[in-house]
Symmetry: C2
Subunit: 195 residues, 2 copies
Protein backbone atom coordinates (compact mmCIF):
# COMPACT_ATOMS: atom_id res chain seq x y z
CA UNK A 1 0.00 0.00 0.00
CA UNK A 2 1.23 3.46 -0.83
CA UNK A 3 0.21 6.16 1.60
CA UNK A 4 -0.13 9.61 0.10
CA UNK A 5 1.43 11.42 3.06
CA UNK A 6 4.69 10.40 4.70
CA UNK A 7 6.13 12.80 7.26
CA UNK A 8 9.73 13.85 6.63
CA UNK A 9 12.11 13.11 9.48
CA UNK A 10 14.24 15.96 10.75
CA UNK A 11 16.72 15.58 13.57
CA UNK A 12 19.85 17.31 14.78
CA UNK A 13 23.31 15.85 15.35
CA UNK A 14 25.61 18.12 17.36
CA UNK A 15 28.53 18.76 14.99
CA UNK A 16 30.97 19.07 17.90
CA UNK A 17 30.05 15.83 19.73
CA UNK A 18 28.30 13.87 16.97
CA UNK A 19 25.42 13.18 19.37
CA UNK A 20 21.69 13.35 18.73
CA UNK A 21 19.63 14.28 21.78
CA UNK A 22 16.40 12.75 20.40
CA UNK A 23 17.69 9.20 20.04
CA UNK A 24 19.38 6.58 22.16
CA UNK A 25 22.75 5.63 20.62
CA UNK A 26 24.02 2.05 20.47
CA UNK A 27 27.09 1.90 22.73
CA UNK A 28 30.11 -0.38 22.80
CA UNK A 29 32.37 -0.38 25.85
CA UNK A 30 35.84 -1.91 26.25
CA UNK A 31 34.26 -5.08 27.72
CA UNK A 32 32.09 -5.50 24.59
CA UNK A 33 35.15 -5.21 22.38
CA UNK A 34 37.84 -7.07 24.33
CA UNK A 35 37.79 -10.24 22.20
CA UNK A 36 38.43 -8.22 19.04
CA UNK A 37 41.76 -6.87 20.25
CA UNK A 38 45.07 -8.57 19.82
CA UNK A 39 45.73 -8.29 23.55
CA UNK A 40 42.37 -9.40 24.93
CA UNK A 41 43.78 -9.75 28.45
CA UNK A 42 44.93 -6.12 28.46
CA UNK A 43 41.44 -5.07 27.33
CA UNK A 44 39.82 -7.10 30.15
CA UNK A 45 42.18 -5.57 32.73
CA UNK A 46 41.46 -2.08 31.50
CA UNK A 47 37.70 -2.74 31.48
CA UNK A 48 37.88 -4.00 35.07
CA UNK A 49 39.32 -0.66 36.20
CA UNK A 50 37.22 1.60 33.97
CA UNK A 51 34.97 0.09 31.36
CA UNK A 52 34.92 3.19 29.22
CA UNK A 53 32.90 3.82 26.11
CA UNK A 54 34.83 2.92 22.95
CA UNK A 55 32.25 4.03 20.39
CA UNK A 56 28.61 4.84 19.85
CA UNK A 57 26.40 5.21 16.80
CA UNK A 58 22.78 5.65 15.77
CA UNK A 59 20.20 3.47 14.11
CA UNK A 60 17.51 5.87 12.86
CA UNK A 61 14.96 3.10 12.15
CA UNK A 62 14.64 3.87 8.46
CA UNK A 63 12.48 1.32 6.59
CA UNK A 64 14.64 -1.64 5.43
CA UNK A 65 13.99 -1.20 1.69
CA UNK A 66 16.31 -0.57 -1.23
CA UNK A 67 14.48 2.73 -1.80
CA UNK A 68 15.50 4.01 1.63
CA UNK A 69 18.80 5.20 3.06
CA UNK A 70 19.88 4.19 6.55
CA UNK A 71 21.99 6.96 8.08
CA UNK A 72 23.42 8.33 11.28
CA UNK A 73 26.58 9.37 13.03
CA UNK A 74 29.32 7.21 14.52
CA UNK A 75 31.63 8.45 17.26
CA UNK A 76 34.80 6.48 18.05
CA UNK A 77 36.60 7.77 21.14
CA UNK A 78 40.40 8.09 21.35
CA UNK A 79 42.38 5.43 23.18
CA UNK A 80 44.40 2.24 22.79
CA UNK A 81 44.55 -1.32 24.08
CA UNK A 82 48.31 -1.81 24.17
CA UNK A 83 49.43 -0.40 20.84
CA UNK A 84 46.12 -1.06 19.09
CA UNK A 85 43.82 1.90 18.52
CA UNK A 86 40.19 2.05 19.60
CA UNK A 87 37.95 0.94 16.76
CA UNK A 88 34.49 -0.31 15.86
CA UNK A 89 33.63 -4.02 15.62
CA UNK A 90 33.29 -3.74 11.88
CA UNK A 91 30.90 -5.78 9.79
CA UNK A 92 29.87 -7.02 6.39
CA UNK A 93 26.43 -6.11 5.12
CA UNK A 94 24.02 -9.05 5.16
CA UNK A 95 23.22 -8.20 1.53
CA UNK A 96 26.88 -8.36 0.56
CA UNK A 97 26.44 -6.46 -2.68
CA UNK A 98 25.81 -3.12 -0.97
CA UNK A 99 28.20 -0.21 -0.37
CA UNK A 100 28.33 2.60 2.18
CA UNK A 101 29.50 6.19 2.33
CA UNK A 102 31.28 7.56 5.41
CA UNK A 103 31.81 11.30 5.64
CA UNK A 104 34.26 12.50 8.30
CA UNK A 105 32.97 15.46 10.31
CA UNK A 106 35.92 15.71 12.70
CA UNK A 107 38.86 13.84 14.13
CA UNK A 108 41.23 11.52 12.32
CA UNK A 109 41.71 7.84 11.69
CA UNK A 110 41.18 5.15 9.10
CA UNK A 111 38.52 3.08 7.43
CA UNK A 112 39.78 -0.52 7.21
CA UNK A 113 38.08 -2.63 4.53
CA UNK A 114 38.29 -6.26 3.48
CA UNK A 115 36.31 -8.42 1.05
CA UNK A 116 35.65 -12.18 1.29
CA UNK A 117 38.38 -12.88 -1.31
CA UNK A 118 40.97 -11.29 0.97
CA UNK A 119 41.52 -7.91 -0.65
CA UNK A 120 42.39 -5.46 2.16
CA UNK A 121 42.36 -1.67 1.85
CA UNK A 122 42.47 1.29 4.19
CA UNK A 123 41.73 4.95 3.67
CA UNK A 124 42.55 7.90 5.89
CA UNK A 125 39.86 9.97 7.60
CA UNK A 126 40.41 13.68 8.05
CA UNK A 127 37.65 16.30 8.38
CA UNK A 128 35.64 16.53 5.14
CA UNK A 129 36.90 13.18 3.83
CA UNK A 130 34.32 11.03 2.09
CA UNK A 131 35.31 7.37 2.03
CA UNK A 132 33.17 5.15 -0.16
CA UNK A 133 33.20 1.54 0.98
CA UNK A 134 32.65 -0.60 -2.15
CA UNK A 135 30.02 -3.31 -2.26
CA UNK A 136 31.16 -6.59 -0.66
CA UNK A 137 33.66 -5.00 1.74
CA UNK A 138 33.55 -5.37 5.52
CA UNK A 139 34.48 -2.08 7.16
CA UNK A 140 35.79 -0.85 10.49
CA UNK A 141 36.46 2.71 11.69
CA UNK A 142 39.65 3.31 13.66
CA UNK A 143 40.48 6.43 15.69
CA UNK A 144 44.22 7.23 15.55
CA UNK A 145 44.05 10.56 17.40
CA UNK A 146 45.44 10.87 20.94
CA UNK A 147 42.77 13.26 22.07
CA UNK A 148 39.85 13.76 19.68
CA UNK A 149 36.80 11.62 18.86
CA UNK A 150 36.51 10.42 15.26
CA UNK A 151 33.06 11.56 14.12
CA UNK A 152 31.59 10.33 10.84
CA UNK A 153 28.22 10.59 9.13
CA UNK A 154 27.29 7.36 7.34
CA UNK A 155 24.65 6.32 4.79
CA UNK A 156 23.92 2.87 3.32
CA UNK A 157 21.07 1.15 1.46
CA UNK A 158 18.07 0.48 3.69
CA UNK A 159 17.95 -3.21 2.78
CA UNK A 160 21.68 -3.89 3.45
CA UNK A 161 21.42 -5.35 6.95
CA UNK A 162 24.41 -6.20 9.15
CA UNK A 163 26.54 -9.31 9.42
CA UNK A 164 28.67 -8.86 12.55
CA UNK A 165 29.20 -12.58 13.06
CA UNK A 166 31.77 -13.18 10.32
CA UNK A 167 34.17 -10.55 11.68
CA UNK A 168 33.52 -11.63 15.29
CA UNK A 169 34.60 -15.17 14.31
CA UNK A 170 37.43 -14.46 11.87
CA UNK A 171 38.60 -10.93 12.63
CA UNK A 172 40.07 -8.62 10.01
CA UNK A 173 43.29 -9.66 8.28
CA UNK A 174 45.03 -6.48 9.47
CA UNK A 175 45.33 -4.53 12.72
CA UNK A 176 46.06 -0.85 13.11
CA UNK A 177 48.72 -0.17 15.73
CA UNK A 178 50.74 2.80 16.97
CA UNK A 179 54.19 2.48 15.41
CA UNK A 180 57.35 4.51 15.99
CA UNK A 181 56.31 7.11 13.42
CA UNK A 182 52.52 6.85 13.56
CA UNK A 183 49.79 4.36 12.75
CA UNK A 184 50.80 1.13 10.99
CA UNK A 185 48.81 -1.73 9.54
CA UNK A 186 50.18 -5.13 10.49
CA UNK A 187 49.00 -8.71 10.06
CA UNK A 188 46.45 -9.82 12.64
CA UNK A 189 47.96 -12.84 14.44
CA UNK A 190 44.47 -13.93 15.54
CA UNK A 191 42.95 -13.85 12.05
CA UNK A 192 41.23 -17.09 11.03
CA UNK A 193 40.92 -18.20 7.42
CA UNK A 194 37.58 -19.87 8.17
CA UNK A 195 34.85 -18.65 10.45
CA UNK B 1 30.60 -10.49 -13.19
CA UNK B 2 31.96 -9.90 -9.73
CA UNK B 3 35.50 -8.58 -9.54
CA UNK B 4 37.38 -9.57 -6.44
CA UNK B 5 39.06 -6.18 -5.99
CA UNK B 6 37.23 -2.86 -6.11
CA UNK B 7 39.22 0.20 -5.07
CA UNK B 8 37.60 2.31 -2.36
CA UNK B 9 37.01 5.93 -3.32
CA UNK B 10 38.34 8.60 -0.97
CA UNK B 11 37.93 12.28 -1.63
CA UNK B 12 37.87 15.49 0.40
CA UNK B 13 35.16 18.12 0.62
CA UNK B 14 36.31 21.37 2.23
CA UNK B 15 34.03 21.72 5.26
CA UNK B 16 34.17 25.54 5.03
CA UNK B 17 33.26 25.91 1.34
CA UNK B 18 31.69 22.51 0.59
CA UNK B 19 33.93 22.20 -2.48
CA UNK B 20 35.89 19.20 -3.71
CA UNK B 21 39.08 20.07 -5.57
CA UNK B 22 39.24 16.71 -7.38
CA UNK B 23 35.91 17.00 -9.18
CA UNK B 24 34.11 19.45 -11.42
CA UNK B 25 30.85 20.54 -9.79
CA UNK B 26 27.59 20.98 -11.71
CA UNK B 27 26.75 24.68 -11.63
CA UNK B 28 23.48 26.59 -11.94
CA UNK B 29 23.58 30.34 -12.53
CA UNK B 30 20.73 32.86 -12.29
CA UNK B 31 20.13 32.52 -16.05
CA UNK B 32 19.66 28.73 -15.69
CA UNK B 33 17.11 29.29 -12.92
CA UNK B 34 15.19 32.37 -14.10
CA UNK B 35 12.07 30.49 -15.27
CA UNK B 36 11.68 28.83 -11.86
CA UNK B 37 11.25 32.14 -10.02
CA UNK B 38 7.98 33.93 -9.51
CA UNK B 39 9.49 37.10 -10.99
CA UNK B 40 11.28 35.69 -14.02
CA UNK B 41 11.82 39.17 -15.50
CA UNK B 42 13.68 40.29 -12.37
CA UNK B 43 15.87 37.19 -12.60
CA UNK B 44 16.65 37.91 -16.27
CA UNK B 45 17.55 41.54 -15.47
CA UNK B 46 19.81 40.49 -12.63
CA UNK B 47 21.48 37.83 -14.79
CA UNK B 48 22.12 40.43 -17.53
CA UNK B 49 24.13 42.55 -15.06
CA UNK B 50 25.87 39.73 -13.21
CA UNK B 51 24.93 36.13 -13.92
CA UNK B 52 26.11 34.86 -10.58
CA UNK B 53 26.28 31.30 -9.40
CA UNK B 54 23.14 30.27 -7.51
CA UNK B 55 24.22 26.76 -6.53
CA UNK B 56 26.61 23.94 -7.31
CA UNK B 57 26.75 20.26 -6.42
CA UNK B 58 28.64 17.07 -7.20
CA UNK B 59 27.88 13.89 -9.07
CA UNK B 60 30.48 11.38 -7.89
CA UNK B 61 29.73 8.85 -10.65
CA UNK B 62 28.77 6.05 -8.30
CA UNK B 63 27.41 2.97 -10.13
CA UNK B 64 23.64 3.34 -10.67
CA UNK B 65 22.61 0.24 -8.71
CA UNK B 66 20.41 -0.23 -5.66
CA UNK B 67 23.45 -1.56 -3.81
CA UNK B 68 25.31 1.73 -4.22
CA UNK B 69 24.87 5.13 -2.62
CA UNK B 70 25.15 8.29 -4.71
CA UNK B 71 26.52 11.11 -2.56
CA UNK B 72 28.10 14.53 -2.63
CA UNK B 73 27.79 18.07 -1.36
CA UNK B 74 25.42 20.80 -2.48
CA UNK B 75 26.19 24.49 -1.98
CA UNK B 76 23.38 27.03 -2.38
CA UNK B 77 24.64 30.63 -2.26
CA UNK B 78 22.79 33.41 -0.43
CA UNK B 79 20.66 35.83 -2.44
CA UNK B 80 17.15 36.64 -3.59
CA UNK B 81 15.20 37.34 -6.77
CA UNK B 82 12.76 39.95 -5.49
CA UNK B 83 11.58 38.45 -2.20
CA UNK B 84 12.22 34.83 -3.26
CA UNK B 85 15.30 33.13 -1.86
CA UNK B 86 17.98 31.44 -3.94
CA UNK B 87 17.21 27.74 -4.26
CA UNK B 88 17.91 24.60 -6.26
CA UNK B 89 15.75 23.49 -9.20
CA UNK B 90 14.46 20.59 -7.18
CA UNK B 91 13.48 17.25 -8.61
CA UNK B 92 11.67 13.97 -8.18
CA UNK B 93 13.68 10.77 -8.42
CA UNK B 94 13.06 8.88 -11.64
CA UNK B 95 12.47 5.80 -9.48
CA UNK B 96 9.83 7.61 -7.45
CA UNK B 97 9.91 5.12 -4.58
CA UNK B 98 13.35 6.24 -3.34
CA UNK B 99 14.24 8.61 -0.49
CA UNK B 100 17.25 10.79 0.26
CA UNK B 101 19.11 12.05 3.31
CA UNK B 102 20.44 15.63 3.47
CA UNK B 103 22.80 16.50 6.29
CA UNK B 104 23.43 20.22 6.85
CA UNK B 105 27.10 21.08 7.34
CA UNK B 106 26.69 24.86 7.59
CA UNK B 107 24.36 27.71 6.81
CA UNK B 108 20.59 27.82 7.16
CA UNK B 109 17.51 27.34 5.05
CA UNK B 110 14.79 24.85 4.25
CA UNK B 111 14.13 21.62 2.44
CA UNK B 112 10.86 21.98 0.53
CA UNK B 113 9.16 18.68 -0.34
CA UNK B 114 6.07 17.72 -2.31
CA UNK B 115 4.62 14.40 -3.48
CA UNK B 116 2.54 13.75 -6.61
CA UNK B 117 -0.67 13.69 -4.55
CA UNK B 118 -0.03 17.24 -3.42
CA UNK B 119 1.24 16.78 0.13
CA UNK B 120 3.69 19.65 0.81
CA UNK B 121 6.17 19.77 3.68
CA UNK B 122 9.20 21.82 4.63
CA UNK B 123 11.90 21.28 7.21
CA UNK B 124 14.45 23.74 8.55
CA UNK B 125 18.18 23.33 7.91
CA UNK B 126 20.63 24.37 10.61
CA UNK B 127 24.15 22.98 11.07
CA UNK B 128 24.00 19.28 12.02
CA UNK B 129 20.39 18.89 10.88
CA UNK B 130 19.59 15.64 9.09
CA UNK B 131 16.48 15.93 6.92
CA UNK B 132 15.20 12.66 5.52
CA UNK B 133 13.20 13.16 2.32
CA UNK B 134 10.64 10.32 2.18
CA UNK B 135 10.22 8.18 -0.92
CA UNK B 136 8.03 9.80 -3.61
CA UNK B 137 8.80 13.40 -2.58
CA UNK B 138 10.31 16.02 -4.89
CA UNK B 139 12.78 18.15 -2.94
CA UNK B 140 14.38 21.58 -3.24
CA UNK B 141 16.98 23.23 -0.99
CA UNK B 142 16.47 26.92 -0.17
CA UNK B 143 19.04 29.24 1.39
CA UNK B 144 17.41 31.77 3.73
CA UNK B 145 20.62 33.32 5.06
CA UNK B 146 21.63 36.86 4.05
CA UNK B 147 25.30 36.07 3.99
CA UNK B 148 26.25 32.40 4.27
CA UNK B 149 26.13 29.50 1.80
CA UNK B 150 23.85 26.59 2.70
CA UNK B 151 26.09 23.51 2.56
CA UNK B 152 24.61 20.01 2.74
CA UNK B 153 25.94 16.49 2.31
CA UNK B 154 23.44 14.25 0.51
CA UNK B 155 23.09 10.51 -0.09
CA UNK B 156 20.48 8.61 -2.13
CA UNK B 157 20.08 5.13 -3.68
CA UNK B 158 22.34 4.65 -6.71
CA UNK B 159 19.45 3.55 -8.93
CA UNK B 160 17.17 6.51 -8.08
CA UNK B 161 17.89 8.73 -11.11
CA UNK B 162 16.60 12.30 -11.52
CA UNK B 163 13.36 13.65 -12.95
CA UNK B 164 13.88 17.41 -13.30
CA UNK B 165 11.23 17.77 -16.02
CA UNK B 166 8.12 17.53 -13.85
CA UNK B 167 9.18 20.40 -11.58
CA UNK B 168 10.43 22.45 -14.55
CA UNK B 169 6.97 22.16 -16.09
CA UNK B 170 4.71 22.40 -13.05
CA UNK B 171 6.83 24.08 -10.37
CA UNK B 172 6.39 23.42 -6.65
CA UNK B 173 3.05 24.28 -5.04
CA UNK B 174 4.77 26.63 -2.58
CA UNK B 175 7.43 29.36 -2.76
CA UNK B 176 9.73 30.50 0.03
CA UNK B 177 9.84 34.29 0.33
CA UNK B 178 11.29 36.84 2.74
CA UNK B 179 8.40 38.06 4.88
CA UNK B 180 8.24 40.84 7.47
CA UNK B 181 9.47 38.54 10.23
CA UNK B 182 11.51 35.99 8.27
CA UNK B 183 11.00 33.30 5.65
CA UNK B 184 7.40 32.42 4.70
CA UNK B 185 5.93 29.73 2.49
CA UNK B 186 3.23 31.05 0.18
CA UNK B 187 1.25 29.57 -2.72
CA UNK B 188 3.10 29.57 -6.03
CA UNK B 189 0.98 31.62 -8.47
CA UNK B 190 2.73 29.92 -11.40
CA UNK B 191 2.06 26.37 -10.20
CA UNK B 192 0.34 24.16 -12.79
CA UNK B 193 -1.85 21.23 -11.81
CA UNK B 194 -0.77 19.33 -14.93
CA UNK B 195 2.67 19.27 -16.49
Amino acid sequence: MTTTTVPATSTNFDLRTGLNDQRQPLRRRISDMAAMFSDEAAARSKAAVNDELMYEFYDMDVPPTSGDIAYGTSIVYPGRIGDEYYMTKGHFHEVLDTGEIYFCLSGEGYMLMENPEGDVQWERFVPGQGVYVPRRYAHRSINTSDSEPLITFFAFPGHAGHDYGTIEEKGFRKLCVAGASGPEFVDNPKWKAEA
